[in-house]
């Protein structure tokens, strides 16, 4: 059978090609080519697009749009996305960051997908070729049932206010290591108390999730040791951390409140 690569100049053509059985979309190749190398026989056609729209980053007052083919290095290099730099730097080493894409990261299973955790805390929306926009949180829940022909073209979100966005990746190995857990939070404060909170967690399920209960528990309270205490407890609600080679479910659950507390108080 062998493998064949099909390259299209537009996303819509690529999306059409994905309708064929045995086709898989390739972003930067870090997931798909590895699968080929490891003898994954579930696909035999690789589809990609060189559509420049997918490699574009747009920042305006209306919001931020990052094309699905934008790499982590491109995010790092963009002066308007400095708040996302820690999340982009959390992905792989320099060579991987030159390849790994924002779109691909949305499909990375735990303990990977650190950038997606950041996007989730920014309440990003995902644009899918031919079927419009959906909230990232919903996308993550449904991504496995969207079908092979769903082609993500971009993510959009409103930029956080200065200093409202926080990101933490805990790994065993530094500076590059798979995550024990990842936390991103967009915390808005007024007059000494939290008025809006979005917290996203990586490695607390098989994919990134929102910590809604913790967000609720944080609003209206000061960002102090006592103030955040209910949120730290609430963060454990609804999590189902995986056990893998990096850490056990038990350990991830035990240290989540510790790291969340440190991030919120930093």
């Amino acid at each position: 059978m062998g493998i064949s690569l099909q390259t299209f100049s537009t996303a819509s053509e690529a999306q059409a090609a994905l309708g064929v059985s045995g086709a898989r979309y390739m972003g930067g190749g870090t997931l798909v080519v590895r699968a080929v190398n490891e003898g994954d026989l579930l696909f035999s056609t690789i589809v990609r697009t060189t559509d420049p729209a997918l490699s574009a980053i747009g920042t305006s007052d209306a919001g931020v749009r990052i094309g699905a083919s934008v790499t982590m290095s491109m995010v790092l290099a963009h002066p308007g996305l400095s708040y996302l730099a820690p999340a982009a730097r959390a992905v792989g080493g320099p060579a991987v960051r030159n390849m790994a894409t924002v779109g691909g990261n949305l499909f990375a299973p735990a303990p990977y997908g650190d950038f997606t955790v950041a996007l989730l805390a920014l309440d990003a929306k995902v644009s899918i070729s031919g079927s419009g926009e959906m909230a990232l949180e919903a996308f993550l829940q449904e991504r496995d049932s969207l079908g092979a022909s769903a082609l993500v073209t971009s993510v959009t979100f409103a930029a956080p206010t200065p200093d409202s966005f926080r990101f933490l990746k805990v790994s065993r190995v530094h500076p590059k290591g798979a995550a024990v857990l990842t936390i991103a939070a967009d915390i808005r404060e007024e007059a000494g108390s939290v008025v809006q909170a979005r917290i996203a967690l990586g490695c607390m399920a098989d994919r990134a999730i929102r910590a809604h209960a913790a967000e609720v528990a944080l609003v209206g309270r000061p960002r102090t040791k006592e103030g955040i205490a209910p949120a730290l407890t609430a963060a454990l609600e609804g999590i189902a951390p995986p056990t893998d080679a990096i850490a056990s479910a038990w350990y991830r659950r035990e240290v989540l409140p510790v790291h969340l507390g440190r991030l919120l108080l930093s």
Partner: protein
């Protein structure tokens, strides 16, 4: 953050070689017509630098510069038998074989030179830079280049030698276990300093101070390489490595370098190394095998330092944050009970 510091010590020894099965290595040495030397082995260079060390050993023994010695190895058509590169035996076993072969070759070389200079071979010495001279009379000399040419084309001599190092097999005595499992022993002592995060169980190794006694540092820079790398591997074993993190459960075993945990370049302990040399009676120039030992003392030293820091013992390797945290929980439960 509740971060505590502690330090721990460990001292170890390590046997050179594996003579429970007999432990042989052979070497051949010969000169080319123009006085370069070839060492032929079947021993394997794994990156520890066996080729370079054998060249230095041969050069020292014959009395020539290392650059003039080529080591041809890891080929069963040309190289005589070697048990293998393991058990810290490469330098010691192959080195001894090379010395024996090189001595024999040197003797032939001096005999040829003696005929050329019309003196006794026992009156000759090498100057280490390619010449043979009469002891006490440096002007009466002949180059090794000319000596080799004369051997090949005039005297019909082969400047060559055979070397064999064999530690005879030791059979353990059934009842007492009396045995001679190895020859000389290398030694080490490590002091490790750690920081333990009591809330997460994370351990940072701040520093390791390693002292190694290795018989003889045949090439100090290469010794240093191996000792630094070994020290890193010891820390890695202590805190990170396993193919089966939930042994004996076989699930979740590492499949790649992301899942198989080892300290990255951002996790390095400040590493200090001191080397002592107590030459072994049977080692090449007194050398022992430090290749394995150098990764051992860090493991218990780190474990002991963790205890010193937070008062808990983790007696299972690797000492992961999870194991430390569980032990801390147990400690705290015990304290309140």
């Amino acid at each position: 953050m509740a971060v505590k510091r502690g330090r721990g010590v460990a001292a170890v020894n390590y046997p050179t070689g594996m003579n429970l099965g007999g432990d042989p290595t052979q070497a051949l040495v010969h000169s080319t017509p123009t006085g370069s030397f070839m060492v032929t082995l079947s021993s394997v260079d794994l990156g520890q630098g066996l080729k370079q060390i054998m060249a230095q050993i041969c050069a020292e023994t014959i009395g020539v510069p290392t650059e003039s010695v080529t080591v041809d190895t890891a080929d069963t058509d040309t190289g005589p038998h070697c048990m293998g590169t393991f058990a810290s035996r490469g330098t010691h076993r192959a080195g001894n074989a090379v010395i024996q072969a090189a001595r024999e070759a040197r003797q032939v070389m001096l005999e040829v030179a003696a005929e050329e200079l019309e003196v006794n071979a026992s009156d000759l010495d090498t100057d280490g830079s390619g010449n043979i001279h009469v002891k006490g009379a440096p002007s009466r000399s002949i180059s090794i280049f000319d000596t080799a040419l004369a051997a090949h084309f005039k005297h019909g001599r082969s400047i060559s030698g055979r070397g064999m190092f064999l530690v005879p097999r030791s059979y353990p005595e059934t009842e007492t276990g009396a045995m001679k499992p190895s020859t000389c022993y290398a030694h080490a002592c490590t002091v490790a300093e750690v920081e333990v995060d009591e809330e997460t169980g994370e351990v940072v190794v701040l520093s390791v101070k390693n002292v190694f006694e290795i018989g003889r540092a045949l090439n100090p820079k290469m010794v240093e390489q191996q000792l630094i790398g070994g020290s890193w591997m010891g820390i890695s074993h202590a805190l990170y490595e396993t193919t089966e993190p939930y042994y004996p459960d076989r699930e979740h075993g590492a499949r790649d370098y992301n899942e198989y945990l080892m300290p990255g370049p951002g996790d390095l302990a400040e590493t200090e190394i001191a080397v002592l040399e107590r030459p072994s009676g049977d080692g090449p120039f007194g050398a022992k095998g430090p290749g394995e030992m150098c990764a051992n003392p860090q493991i218990p030293a780190v474990a002991n330092a963790i205890f010193d820091a937070v008062g808990v013992r983790v007696d299972t390797l690797p000492i992961t944050p999870e194991r430390v945290l569980r032990a801390l929980r147990q400690r705290d439960a015990g304290a309140t009970a």
